[in-house]
Structures are given as C-alpha cells and as structure tokens.
Amino acid sequence: MIGSLYIGGDSLLHRQPAWRKLLVLFAAGIVLFVVQAPEILAGAAVAAAAILATVRPPLRALRRQLTGVAIILAAIFAANAVFADWGTAFAMLFRLSTLVLLALAVTMTTRTSDMLEVVERVLQPLERTGLVNAARVSLAVSLAIRFVPEIFARYREIRDAQAARGLAGNPVALIVPLVVRTLKSAEEIAAAIDARGFEGAHPSGSASGRTGRQGGTAS
C-alpha cells in the first residue's frame, strides 16, 4: 500500500539534503542503464543493499515493500531468460534491484515534504511559462500519498458492510459507495485546505480555485 515510507533516524543518508539524494538516484539510474556487464551490476546491487542497510529499516516494512517488487523482478528475469539470454536476464535483474534498493533508501530517509520541496523547485522554471503551478502539483502529490491508505481503509469498510448484507461479490455495491464517499471527502479536504490558507492557487486565493462558495452546507 502506498503511504509515506519515511522512517525517522540519524543515519548519514538521513542527514543528506533531499535534492542531493534525488540527484544521485537520478544519476545512478542513467549509469545503470549504460553499464551492461552483469558482474558490475551485481556489485552495484550488493552496494545498494549495503547502503539500504545503513538506514536500519525495520524488517517488516522492508518485507512489505520488497515482496511485490520481488515477484515483478522474478517475472522480468524469467521473460529475459526465455526470450533473450542468461546474461541479459541477470543484468536486468541486478540493474532493477539496484534501482529499487536505492530508491527505497532515499524514500525511507527523506520526508515527503522535503521531497516535494525539490519537486516544487524543479517545476519552478515551468511555472514561469504559466503551464504549471508548482505548489499545486506538490500538494496534489502529497494528497495522493496521504489519502491512498485512507481510501484503502474505506474500501475495506464498505467491502465488509456489503458482505454483511450478502453483497460480497457485487462490484457495483462496492464501487458506487466508495466513489461517492471519496468525492464527498474530496470536497471537505478542499475546504480544509482553503481554511488553512493555502495560497498555491493565487496570492489571496484558495486551493480549489474558489475563494468561498456561494451557498453553503446545512447542518
């Protein structure tokens, strides 16, 4: 499940600024795709695992993050072994493993807000063209990370409620209330962001692009 993967700590990686970690990750991604030798890539994977180990991630969190990835990597490895050759398959396996481990090390040691600050800074030149609002993009990313676990919890709640009514296998009974509830909370979230004075939209404006709604909520 998506959510913030950040784990508090004081490792060397924790102390690095977010931009530096993201830059190194970006550069590592390029280098890894240039290098073809499986032996070198295997060394890189071991090094990435060692870097991740310095963060001292909890084993449970690590298992949760890596199980799904391991299945995908195994499938890619098998496909390459069948349709290409063993050398290509191993190179691909080590290359992707290195990237995943490095990315995990970065996300486990970087707060979402620090990462979003970098995103905002990177997008700022585009902001001048009027095509992108960096603050809005960064808020949208944060909201996605924040609310995916909530939507998943809501999904489980509705699934259990429908199962109790004998509608366990009915996708409509599951999807319709989930969409309705999500949209309803989206409206409330927008109001909450407005209420907290988010000025990403325009200097005196509101996140949802409306400074106050005509009409109201009756309660």
Binding site: T112, A192, A195, G197, S204, T211, G216, T217, S219
Partner: protein, 222 residues
C-alpha cells in the same frame, strides 16, 4: 460581524437575514441538523460567502480579504481525517507555516510547540493514517493553532469521538486562551461558555447565556 447575511443554495435559503456581532471569548452555536449552523460558521472563515449581506472579521470583509481573514480565523472540522493533508504529522503542521517563509529552525520550533501544547509531541513523526480518532482531532487542532489564529471555529469537534477523546478535546477547548466559536450537539461542552446562539431554519431563534439557551433548546427540540 454579520450584517443582514443570507445564504441561498439551489433556491433554498440556508441562512436568512442573520445579524450578529460576535465578541465573547466562548460562543456556542446550537441547532438541529440542517438548521444552517455549519454554514454560519463557515462564513466566518470565508469558506462560504453570503448571497446577501456582509461578513467582516476585525473589519476585513471575508469575501474580499479571504486570505487575511484565514490568518485570523482557524477552522477545525468535524472529521479530522479530511483535514490532515500530509502523510507525517509534523509535515502537516508545517504545511500552513511554509507560506509564512519562516526559517527552518523557527518552523520546527513552532511545530513542536503546537504539538506539545496538546500533549501530542510524541506523535510528531507518526504517519497520519495510523492515528486514532482522538489523536487525529488533536493533530487537526494543533495544525490550526500553529498558525496562531486569534479565533478558532470548531464545527462539531467531538461528534466522532469516544468519551475519553471527547474529554481531551473538551479540555483543550476549555483551556485555550484564544477565542472560540463552537458548533456542537454536546451541550455539556458549551454549558460554561459566555454565549449560546440557537439556529433553526436559517434564522437565529435564541441568543442568550448558555444556561437559558440550552433549556430553551431542549424544550423546543429535545
């Protein structure tokens, strides 16, 4: 201050010609479901603008100076789940402060100070979705208070909470030095307030000390 405020939605009057001057330190807003209580308090933060009339906070028109008004008026919603927008608690508190362009150390100090104020300093690094209902409401409150508003509006802050957490929020509201306007069905919470306003069908039907106002409310809507 609300002057001749009406709010109309889909042709229906949610609020009808409301005139109020709100100066007391603790004000309760009571009323049955659908009476217009939430709309009334949302006007104070500029979340809703009047269809007719004028709402001003410290002389600032909420329709024209929404950003300025929101710096003075904090708003705590009924469901804190929708109010916390960042994955980590301390990040969420820092969200509002970021726009004040404070130095990082000052920002960090204010975040911790706000959390400690409500006895939840230990939650600073917790993931927002793992908090209990009471913890979420306290985090939402801390996220509002970190901005140092002069007035805090609470829209049914204890409705979704169990007794223990309800008491925590009650204590937080009672002890805070800032002015507060509280929409609530929790009559015990507002009993010691300075003023209680009862709303029904979009109109102020009683404006009194909490004791007589609650008795009147019970007699008419109980």
């Amino acid at each position: 201050m609300l002057e001749g405020v009406s709010v109309v939605r889909d042709g229906r009057a949610i609020l009808d010609s409301v005139d109020l001057t709100l100066r007391e330190r603790r004000i309760a807003v009571l009323g049955p479901n659908g009476s217009g209580k939430s709309t009334l308090v949302r006007l104070l933060n500029g979340l809703v603008t009047p269809s007719k009339g004028r709402v001003a906070v410290d002389g600032h028109d909420t329709a024209k100076d929404a950003a300025l008004v929101r710096r003075r008026v904090g708003f705590v919603f009924q469901n804190p789940e929708n109010q916390i927008v960042f994955p980590i608690v301390s990040e969420d508190l820092a969200f509002g402060l970021k726009h004040l362009k404070l130095p990082k150390a000052e920002l960090h100090r204010r975040v911790l100070e706000a959390l400690e104020r409500f006895g939840i300093g230990h939650l600073a690094e917790r993931q927002s979705h793992t908090l209990s209902g009471g913890e979420r409401q306290l985090v939402a409150l801390a996220a509002v208070m970190v901005m140092k508003p002069a007035l805090v509006v609470f829209d049914e802050p204890t409705t979704l909470l169990d007794l223990r957490n309800r008491n925590r929020i009650r204590a937080a509201i009672t002890e805070m030095p800032e002015s507060a306007i509280v929409v609530s069905h929790d009559l015990d919470l507002v009993r010691d307030f300075d003023r209680a306003i009862v709303i029904d069908q979009g109109r102020v039907v009683r404006d009194d000390r909490p004791g007589p106002a609650i008795d009147w409310y019970r007699a008419h809507f109980g």
